[in-house]
């Protein structure tokens, strides 16, 4: 029984292998092909963000191809290989392996920290450069891999700005996080920074990224007389939380991270969202150096910008820039060039520190006024 079954698997696999052999595209009419991988969740709850990243990367690739890229005196065409990691760590390693098999020159991705980290090991072993447009966990670049880069401020950088800002708003601060890697990472950094700025953390409460009832923790916070409540988490929790604060008569200032600084938050929270402050890495799109031009080009082609597509766009530009400077498809040479990047992109100036983090990125604070996010101030996070 067992052997028959295993044999049938084998036959099936062989069948698949044969069919796979037939479709391998080999286009070489004297033209070099630079393969760039793009990984983000294209299915699952975050597929809208994933598609946005892919589109940002594709826009950059199309522009570069239209302009023409020369490597070593030969005309080169950039090919974007888009992969879906479904925001799942295990799938992330599988698609990372697939890109390595395809011998890509570099990878733009992944979208999440939870997928970027396990994949970074494979890219590092293969010596392939990886630029994440949106992973913010400190750990991603702290593993000592020379191949891991990112073009967005990390949780520590953002948390430092937000925590310092929170301490300016009030001296008694309550912190809530949703126990996700993102929420907890950011909240911990905010706590550290707020303490360093002389504020007192009067309550540290927790919820989950699926919860809707926050009355118990909010009431506990009410009992501690907090001036500011910081929440590290996403908009579906932030919105009802703000509503429940109102109902419980809590007047503390609500402060959120980039998970709350969304259009969805405005929609869900409605009138109760008024006055809420939240941060987002980078500059407001309107004040990005090439922001308006990018927005026009992007919306003409793909519709509304979701969130991180400008970063994916810049990441491709930085990656291809390094390959062009190296003037070779050898990942080792382009990696060395990548470290020396000094590029003015639509999201601002991109330089990397020795760990691969963005040096001197910006964080902007926004407040809800008349149902709109209005930029309050942009702070430079002196990236270390």
């Amino acid at each position: 029984m067992t052997s028959r079954f295993l044999a049938s698997i084998l036959v099936a696999t062989l069948g698949l292998s044969l069919s796979a052999c037939g479709k391998k595209p080999e286009t070489s009419n004297g033209e070099l092909v630079i393969k760039i991988g793009s990984v983000s969740p294209l299915t699952g709850p975050q597929s809208h963000l994933g598609k946005d990243n892919e589109n940002g990367a594709r826009l950059a690739v199309d522009e570069l191809n239209a302009k023409g890229v020369m490597i070593g005196g030969k005309k080169a065409r950039i090919e974007l290989l888009s992969e879906d990691d479904a925001a799942d760590p295990k799938t992330a390693t599988i698609v990372a392996q697939r890109l390595i098999d395809e011998k890509v020159a570099g990878v733009i991705g992944h979208l999440n920290s939870g997928t970027s980290i396990p994949a970074s090991k494979l890219y590092s072993d293969a010596g392939i450069a990886q630029i994440s447009p949106s992973a913010t966990a400190v750990k991603y670049t702290a593993q000592g891999f020379k191949t891991a880069f990112r073009v967005m401020t990390n949780d520590a950088q953002q948390g430092r700005v937000v925590g310092t800002y929170a301490a300016k708003l009030g001296k008694k601060i309550a912190i809530i996080d949703d126990r996700s890697a993102y929420g907890q990472g950011l909240a911990d950094e905010v706590e550290k920074a707020a303490k360093a700025a002389g504020a007192e953390i009067v309550a540290r409460e927790y919820t989950s990224d699926k919860a809707t009832d926050f009355t118990a923790i909010l009431t506990a916070i009410k009992g501690k007389d907090a001036d500011v409540i910081f929440f590290g988490g996403m908009d579906p929790q932030a919105a009802p939380m703000v509503q429940q604060m109102k109902r419980l008569g809590i007047t503390a200032q609500f402060l959120g991270g980039d998970g709350a600084q969304t259009a969805e938050f405005l929609h869900l929270a409605g009138a109760d969202g008024e006055g809420v402050i939240a941060s987002n890495p980078g500059l407001p799109l309107a004040s990005m150096p090439g922001g308006q031009a990018f927005e026009q080009k992007f919306t003409a082609k793909y519709g509304k910008i979701q969130n991180y597509s400008p970063y994916a766009y810049d990441a491709v530009m930085v990656m291809v820039g390094a390959i062009q400077r190296a003037n070779s498809l050898d990942p080792k040479l382009s990696l060395a060039e990548l470290e020396k990047t000094d590029y003015s992109g639509v999201t601002g100036k991109i330089r990397f520190d020795p760990k691969g983090d963005l040096a001197g990125g910006n964080v902007t604070l926004y407040q809800v006024k008349n149902g709109q996010w209005v930029p309050l101030e942009t702070v430079k996070s002196d990236g270390q």
């Binding site: 927790y206 809707t212 118990a216 009431t219 506990a220 009410k222 579906p236 419980l248 969805e264």
Partner: protein, 308 residues
């Protein structure tokens, strides 16, 4: 003290939400001794259907908010009744003679199926409940309680009382009790066991629909995933109170709500910061295990051998 009172109120409201869902669980279990895993999902479908109706009406018809919500409920209830009937007919009835594992696995399957169907129909985004109900709050000894909270508490008590009356006083109720005790004998006495079971599912699902709308109104949103945790907590509440016992479901729900609220509110202070509100969801499971081990029949359940 006002903080404690507030936590108590928070807990009671949360608990009455659990109780509403637990009533449906307990009814089905009382008769079939089957955990209808899909019950939480029926609640979710109720909320989603009502929200679709409400969303279509708001801004287009000049009716008071309460009326619009009532119309949503009026559509959601029959949809869920049909759903409950179908689930029993298709997924559970054919397996009545199968080993116990079989209907349990189908129940999980139905639950997953409904969740993902809802996700495809209504999307992954949270659906907003428009702010059309009164959000007025009252001050009671330093604590606040809103109209909606009072309404949910009262409604769950009324529904429970109605169900108890149905089971104790009507002919259908008698048939239900007979079926629960000895189906074969009940059938011999002229009870149409299949219809009784179908009706139980239909009534349970109707209550689930109402519960779903209440939950969505209370939290201001609905989501395809909302039924799962709610169902689990409600089940815990039903077990805590004594599964199969309607008053028990109510008591269990309120108790669980209060335990969770006070637990999340005070565990940090009690353990000196060693554990915090991050363990809120653990309480429910912990209570469940404790009850099942120490008093499997629950607080109000009668002691029956082999029940658990």
């Amino acid at each position: 003290m006002d903080i404690f009172l507030q936590q108590l109120i928070n807990g009671l409201v949360l608990g009455s939400v659990y109780a509403l869902v637990a009533l449906g669980y307990t009814m089905v279990y009382g008769i079939l001794e089957l955990i209808n895993f899909a019950h939480g999902e029926v609640t979710m479908i109720g909320a989603m259907v009502a929200l679709s109706v409400i969303g279509a009406l708001v801004g287009h018809v000049a009716l008071p908010g309460v009326v619009i919500v009532a119309m949503g409920v009026l559509v959601a209830v029959p949809v869920c009744m049909l759903l409950g009937f179908t689930i029993e007919r298709v997924a559970y009835r054919p397996l009545r003679h199968a080993p116990r594992l079989a209907p349990l696995i189908t129940a999980i399957g139905v639950s997953i199926l409904l969740q993902n169907l809802a996700m495809i129909i209504w999307g992954r985004e949270y659906v907003k409940f428009p702010p059309i109900l009164s959000s007025a709050t009252h001050q009671v000894a330093g604590a606040t309680i809103s109209d909606l909270q009072i309404f949910i508490l009262v409604l769950s008590l009324l529904i429970m009382a109605g169900l108890v009356a149905l089971v104790q006083k009507t002919k259908l109720g008698r048939a239900m009790r007979a079926t629960a005790q000895a189906p074969q004998v009940a059938a011999l006495m002229g009870v149409n066991v299949n219809s009784v079971i179908s009706l139980t599912f239909i009534i349970g699902s109707a209550i689930a629909a109402i519960a779903g709308v209440m939950v969505a109104a209370y939290y201001g949103l609905a989501h395809y995933y909302m039924g799962f945790m709610l169902g689990l907590k409600a089940f815990t509440a039903a077990v805590l109170g004594g599964i199969g016992n309607l008053a028990g479901a109510m008591l269990g729900g309120l108790l669980l709500g209060v335990i969770e609220s006070l637990g999340a509110g005070y565990i940090g202070d009690i353990t000196g910061g060693f554990m915090g509100s991050n363990y809120q969801d653990v309480f429910a499971f912990f209570v469940l295990i404790l009850v099942l081990v120490l008093r499997p029949s629950g607080l109000l359940g009668e002691q029956v051998g082999e029940r658990a």
